[in-house]
């Protein structure tokens, strides 16, 4: 029962993978563009979690490379959210919908 008493890297990675899968499934199957967007954020945070865990359990854990990269991702994600939400609002004003099934006019 070692894995219940001691938290190892694998636990973090498993959680990260589960989060990533949930996000990916959401992106693939949900119809509301806002939900898809939130699922994307979930995938990003799954990656963040993995990075931090790697840094924590690295044998040469003298530096903070993982953490720094996470800060970068958070920053970029914040900027992306600003742009993306603006686009979504604008799209909604134009089409009166956020259902991706109705947003399919961009094709051949």
């Amino acid at each position: 029962m070692n894995w219940l008493t001691e938290i190892t890297l694998n636990h973090y990675l498993a959680l990260s993978g589960i989060l990533f899968m949930i996000g990916m499934a959401g992106v693939m199957i949900r119809r509301s563009i806002l939900v898809i967007y939130m699922c994307l954020e979930l995938m990003l945070n799954a990656a963040n979690l993995a990075l931090v865990a790697f840094n924590r359990f690295s044998p040469a854990a003298r530096d903070y490379d993982g953490q720094i990269m996470v800060f970068f991702i958070i920053t970029v994600a914040a900027a992306e959210v600003a742009v993306g939400l603006a686009l979504i609002v604008s799209l909604y004003r134009l089409r009166q919908t956020t259902n991706v099934n109705d947003l399919n006019s961009l094709k051949f």
């Binding site: 992106v27 693939m28 399919n104 094709k107």
Partner: protein, 603 residues
């Protein structure tokens, strides 16, 4: 010295083309002046005692081959220079009268000057390559001048025909030059002459090779001097302006072939079989063309076939080995044939471009100067005793008499035919009654045209006795060799018989009394060419065009574009506009990559 002869026409041609062409009179004057300077240079060469120090420069040099642009100053070249510049100057002057009304007068004179430059280059050439360069230039200027009235489809066709037929001969000439270089290791006439004189043909070259090389050189002459079977272009070349016919297609360019043969005679001489071929082709051409001339109705075409026939004479003389006689005949022929063509030009000018002799008649009343000069030209050509043509033709026949009796008979018979068809021409065109109404409006040409006629007539009268033949060299057969008076008697008899026959038949004739379709249609030579060369060539061209359209264009070009477009058509079906379909494809792609790199490669 030689540059004074060679360069003025080139300068004139360039000046007229680039600067002077809007000013017609200045262009004409420039061109005539250039020709006069060349004539002066030629005269200076003639009178200077030694022509050793002619300047030359190296144009290209590679190991084993040095090509110079230089000049020959021997008697052969000087005589030819005098003929080209002298007759050329007279024709330049005549052309002003003939072409005055033409809107492209400047272009005409520019081309004429270009021709003079190229022709003088051939004459001066001191090596085969230089000669070949100018040989091609002459072909070009001939093409330009035949096609001078390029708006007329027939003139454009004739120009093309002349150029293409000449290409065949030029190709042979080029092979001959390469062969000469391969055998003797030199292309310079003086060096070659020395090599041939001292050591003959180098070991290792069979007589067959030498004969082939000699024949290659002769091919050049066949094209340029229009020998059978490459004769077809010359009659058609009469589509050009008449002064051009006189200068290029009678007096100078077509004689360049004969001049070239005399130049390289020491090479031809090495092969008896090549000389035989030359002799027979010359003889065949002379009689063949004379027969055709019997039934032609176009005044210029009769003269064209007559030119062919006389060129055949000269080539035949070279084949016999009588180069002095050939050059002698070339010179006198240049005088009287230029005269005949210019007089014909005067007639055509006076009759507003009527060329059919059966629409003329009694022109002697309306154009006396033209008539008398034409008559003198005819007399000189047909061998009227003691005129220029008589002496030169006589000397060729005499040499032939001692060489080959069959060729001699052909020559004599041709002389008879010549007297016949020329008398027919004169009688029909100048005697009898006016056959059409237009003749009543005929007028004598202005002085600018008649003066050159008179000068040429004087040359035709006395050209035989001023010692042209002694200037070039020894006669092949001395007059004492026997049979001299027999040959002379025979040729005078032929002259009389031919003239009398034509007078008897044509003096009262209202239309052509005989009809010989075989002769009228030129032995069907154009038709034979059509069937043997043009048709197969067209079939081949069609086949190649099919190949180009279906294989090159179809398989390689159109099939490629169709497959690219088709692939695009299929792939665009994937782009359905559904965002989540893209996401699925993207994730599948990522999964595939992960599988490839993490599982397959890692294993």
């Amino acid at each position: 010295m030689n540059w004074i002869v060679l360069l003025p026409p080139l300068i004139a041609a360039v000046l007229i083309t680039l600067v002077l062409h809007p000013y017609k009179k200045i262009s004409v004057f420039t061109s005539i002046l250039a020709c006069t300077i060349s004539l002066g240079g030629a005269l200076a060469l003639f009178f200077s005692s030694s022509n050793e120090g002619l300047s030359s420069f190296v144009w290209a040099a590679v190991p084993g081959l040095k090509i110079t642009i230089g000049a020959m100053g021997d008697h052969l070249a000087v005589l030819m220079l005098l003929v080209v510049t002298g007759v050329g100057l007279l024709i330049h002057i005549f052309s002003y009268g003939y072409m005055e009304q033409d809107p492209s007068l400047s272009r005409f004179y520019a081309k004429l000057s270009l021709f003079m430059f190229s022709m003088l280059g051939i004459v001066l050439a001191d090596n085969l390559v230089m000669m070949f360069i100018f040989w091609e230039l002459v072909g070009l200027s001939s093409y330009l001048l035949i096609g001078f009235w390029f708006q007329k489809p027939s003139a454009a066709e004739a120009a093309k025909k002349a150029f293409i037929v000449n290409r065949i001969g030029d190709f042979g000439f080029l092979l001959g030059i390469l062969g000469t270089w391969a055998i003797f290791g030199s292309i310079h006439f003086t060096e070659l002459k020395e090599i041939v004189a001292t050591s003959g043909v180098p070991a290792g070259f069979s007589s067959g090779i030498v004969a082939l090389v000699a024949f290659g050189l002769f091919m050049g002459c066949m094209g340029k001097s229009a020998q059978v079977p490459l004769h077809v272009w010359l009659p058609d070349a009469m589509e050009g302006p008449t002064p051009v016919s006189a200068l290029i297609h009678a007096a100078t360019m077509v004689a360049a072939g004969v001049y070239m043969l005399c130049r390289v005679f020491f090479i031809l001489e090495l092969s008896v079989s090549a000389l035989d071929v030359i002799m027979w082709i010359g003889a065949i051409t002379s009689i063949f063309a004379a027969l055709i001339a019997l039934q032609q109705n176009d005044i210029k075409r009769i003269l064209a076939y007559s030119t062919l026939s006389q060129l055949g004479y000269m080539v035949m003389a070279v084949g016999i080995g009588a180069t002095t006689e050939a050059m002698f005949h070339l010179t006198t022929h240049a005088f009287f044939k230029a005269l005949l063509f210019l007089a014909a030009g005067s007639v055509i000018h006076g009759l507003h471009h009527e060329q059919d002799i059966w629409k003329m008649g009694n022109l002697k009343k309306y154009m006396p100067v033209t008539f008398w000069t034409f008559l003198i030209g005819t007399a000189a050509l047909t061998g009227f005793p003691f005129l220029s043509g008589f002496f030169s033709k006589e000397s060729i026949l005499f040499a032939a008499y001692h060489q080959n009796i069959v060729v001699f008979s052909i020559g004599i018979f041709t002389a008879l035919l010549t007297a016949f068809y020329m008398t027919r021409l004169v009688v029909v065109a100048f005697f009898g009654k006016e056959r059409t109404h237009e003749v009543h409006h005929a007028h004598e040409s202005p002085l600018v045209m008649t003066v050159p006629l008179i000068v040429l007539a004087i040359l035709s009268l006395f050209g035989g006795v001023i010692g042209i033949d002694h200037y070039i060299g020894e006669h092949k057969v001395a007059h004492e060799a026997g049979g001299f008076y027999f040959v002379m008697g025979l040729s005078i008899t032929c002259f009389l018989a031919g003239t009398a026959g034509a007078l008897f038949i044509y003096l009262k004739a209202k239309a052509e009394p005989f009809s010989l379709p075989l002769l009228r249609d030129k032995f069907y030579s154009d038709e034979i060419y059509e069937a043997c060369l043009v048709k197969p060539q067209q079939v081949l061209a069609k086949a190649l065009s099919w190949f180009d359209y279906w294989v090159v264009g179809g398989v390689f070009v159109r099939l490629t574009s169709i497959s690219a477009a088709g692939a695009g058509e299929i792939l665009r079906l994937l782009q359905g506009g559904s965002l989540q379909a893209y996401v699925v494809m993207f994730i599948l792609g990522v999964a595939l990559l992960c599988y490839w790199f993490l599982v397959r490669v890692a294993l």
